[in-house]
């Protein structure tokens, strides 16, 4: 198996570019999400991203607030019980970001269709609603006939909708554990990561833990993202922060609210980027920024028992550092 460990900096530098069609996984508002990958994209000042996501997340909120993306296609634009996403609201209401609405089932089906190589996906989701008849990309056309066109079932003659497939150039996906090759284990809901990983042209994982391949061989049934579709793996514990990673850490209530508060204005967003992106370089810096006491509190949560079967195979920081040096990216890798 190929060792595909890569630094965060290098992964973003190599796999993202301005104007790309980008997706993050799981694309959840509170749960697993590749937030730290997004932070690095902000640091490297990516622009004009066309963002495909299942739901809003703090990554989407940040991208909208910071002007990283121009277009978003998603099913949900809030942060659930944490409230409306202020960065998204501001950008969408001002017209700076065009937000195309879908639903949670239709986004999953669009990824599934792309994964299967289908031209479109027949559906009963969204038809008859304004999700079908209004397109933010063509707001002056109503009813819009090209977003989810009507199709006739060739067998029964009944009318359904045709969902366009969603094919990201890159999916950056948060996973709980991965081996060095990219065989990944997800605790908690997989949401649409199974189909997203198969829809994207390139896949970079962001893993809380790197585990020994023996762990993967013990639980092969549980590997929902296999290494054959993974290009690179970024080891980064607490990478979903301030969101949660089931089995590992809780969502950081204080920071979820503080981040959303700051993203409500341009000044606040600039402050957020300064304090929570430009202020750190290494993973140690990142943990210091969150705070040791806070980190321990987040790690001690009601789902911690879910990680127990896997703990024996988790690689230590030193072991991961050594494995990084043996990676196919090692020769090119610099710094962090």
């Amino acid at each position: 198996m190929v060792n595909k460990l890569i630094s965060l900096h290098k992964a973003v530098e190599q796999y993202t570019h301005d104007g790309m069609i980008y997706a993050s996984g799981a694309g959840l508002p509170v749960g697993s999400e590749s937030v730290v990958f997004g932070r690095e994209m902000v640091r490297q000042q990516r622009k004009h991203i066309h963002y495909l996501t299942h739901c809003c997340s703090q990554q989407v909120n940040l991208f909208c607030a910071a002007g990283i993306c121009d277009k978003v296609e998603a099913a949900f634009s809030g942060l659930e019980v944490y409230g409306f996403a202020n960065g998204v609201r501001r950008a969408v209401e001002s017209g700076r970001v065009v937000w195309e609405d879908w639903s949670n089932l239709s986004m999953s089906l669009r990824f599934l269709g792309a994964a299967l190589g289908w031209p479109f996906v027949p559906t009963t989701a969204n038809i008859g609603s304004d999700i079908q008849s209004r397109s933010a990309f063509q707001p002056d056309v109503f009813p819009c006939k090209t977003k989810i066109p009507e199709i006739t079932d060739p067998f029964t003659g009944k009318i359904y909708g045709a969902l366009p497939v969603a094919k990201p150039e890159l999916a950056a996906i948060h996973v709980t554990m991965s081996d060095v090759a990219g065989n990944a284990l997800l605790l908690g809901t997989e949401w649409s990561r199974f189909e997203l990983a198969r829809a994207a042209q390139k896949v970079v994982l962001q893993a809380d833990y790197i585990v020994d391949a023996a762990c993967i061989r013990q639980y092969p049934n549980l590997v929902r993202i296999p290494e054959v579709i993974v290009d690179a793996v970024v080891p980064w514990q607490l990478g979903a922060w301030p969101q949660c990673s089931v089995g590992v850490y809780d969502s950081d209530e204080e920071h979820m609210n503080e981040m959303n508060r700051l993203l409500a204005s341009d000044e606040g967003c600039a402050k957020y980027i300064e304090e929570y992106i430009h202020s750190w370089q290494t993973h140690d810096d990142f943990i210091s920024l969150i705070g040791q006491a806070k980190t321990e509190g987040l790690l001690n949560n009601v789902t911690s028992h879910l990680l127990d079967p896997y703990r024996q195979w988790i690689k230590s920081d030193d072991e991961v550092a050594a494995l990084m040096n043996e990676s196919v990216f090692a020769k090119e890798s610099v710094g962090r």
Partner: protein
């Protein structure tokens, strides 16, 4: 009154859940109503979230989301969106879905996407106020056998025509849903902060069915933006029993519903 309007609304919603129902709950209010029902009178109801987390009860407070740790601590199955919203909801297996509404019309069509001032602003695209969008509500509205809608009863929200149909109710009323291949039956109740509206069987227009003890027919009519008709025999909803309140408050450990 020893309970809040929100608690009455949650309990009235919970009463819609039957023992054995397969139910899908959203976050916040609807989840509290659902778990209240399971603890109170529907021990065999089965709960799923659209996040693909089944068989769990919240631990440590109201979950922050349909996927967070508080709803993941004691689950019997972790799967995903296609399983929950496709295999279970869109296939027609789900008995009851509970969704929220920011704006609603007399045929039970729900807007949770945004507010626009007028057609001109709609044609330009960007909304005056961006809301949360569908999430999984659209397919819950299409696929669940019964849908219960929860909404704050205010005139600006109960409107003749919604700005945007995020989740279809009965569309233009009557048999309009039949144009589409929805497997679900549509909304059976709109449960508000003032009372309960139910659809007239033929027209599918929502009529006043009952009102809460602290409310009344006049107040509900005043707070409704269409000419709200009254079902013959409209009556008061029984107020929460001591046991109902005790169980709801045990579920609502963070006191979300007790805020006035």
């Amino acid at each position: 009154m020893n309970y809040t309007k929100q608690e009455m609304m949650a309990i009235a919603t919970g009463r819609e859940i039957g023992d054995g129902d397969l139910c899908i709950f959203g976050v916040g209010l609807s989840m509290l109503a659902g778990y209240f029902a399971i603890a109170h009178h529907a021990p065999n109801a089965r709960a799923l979230t659209e996040g693909g987390i089944y068989g769990s009860t919240p631990v440590g407070g109201l979950p922050w989301g349909i996927e967070d740790n508080r709803i993941s601590a004691n689950a019997t199955c972790f799967t995903g969106a296609i399983d929950a919203l496709g295999f279970l909801v869109a296939s027609g297996r789900c008995d009851l879905g509970i969704i929220g509404a920011a704006q609603i019309d007399k045929f039970g069509n729900v807007n949770t996407t945004g507010f626009w001032d007028d057609q001109e602003q709609l044609r330009r695209g960007a909304p005056k106020v961006r809301l949360n969008g569908s999430g999984g509500a659209n397919e819950i509205g299409g696929g669940c056998k019964r849908v219960v809608i929860m909404a704050a009863h205010e005139k600006k929200r109960f409107t003749e025509k919604v700005d945007y149909i995020t989740t279809p109710g009965y569309l233009e009323g009557g048999n309009a849903r039949e144009r589409y291949q929805f497997v679900g039956g549509g909304p059976v109740a709109i449960i508000t902060t003032l009372g309960i509206l139910r659809p007239e069987p033929l027209t599918k227009e929502f009529l006043l069915d009952s009102y809460f003890p602290f409310s009344g027919i006049e107040e509900m009519k005043q707070q409704t933006g269409w000419n709200l008709k009254i079902f013959p025999g409209a009556k008061v909803v029984p107020e929460p029993s001591a046991r109902e309140l005790e169980i709801l408050r045990a579920i609502d450990v963070t006191g979300m519903l007790r805020k006035k």
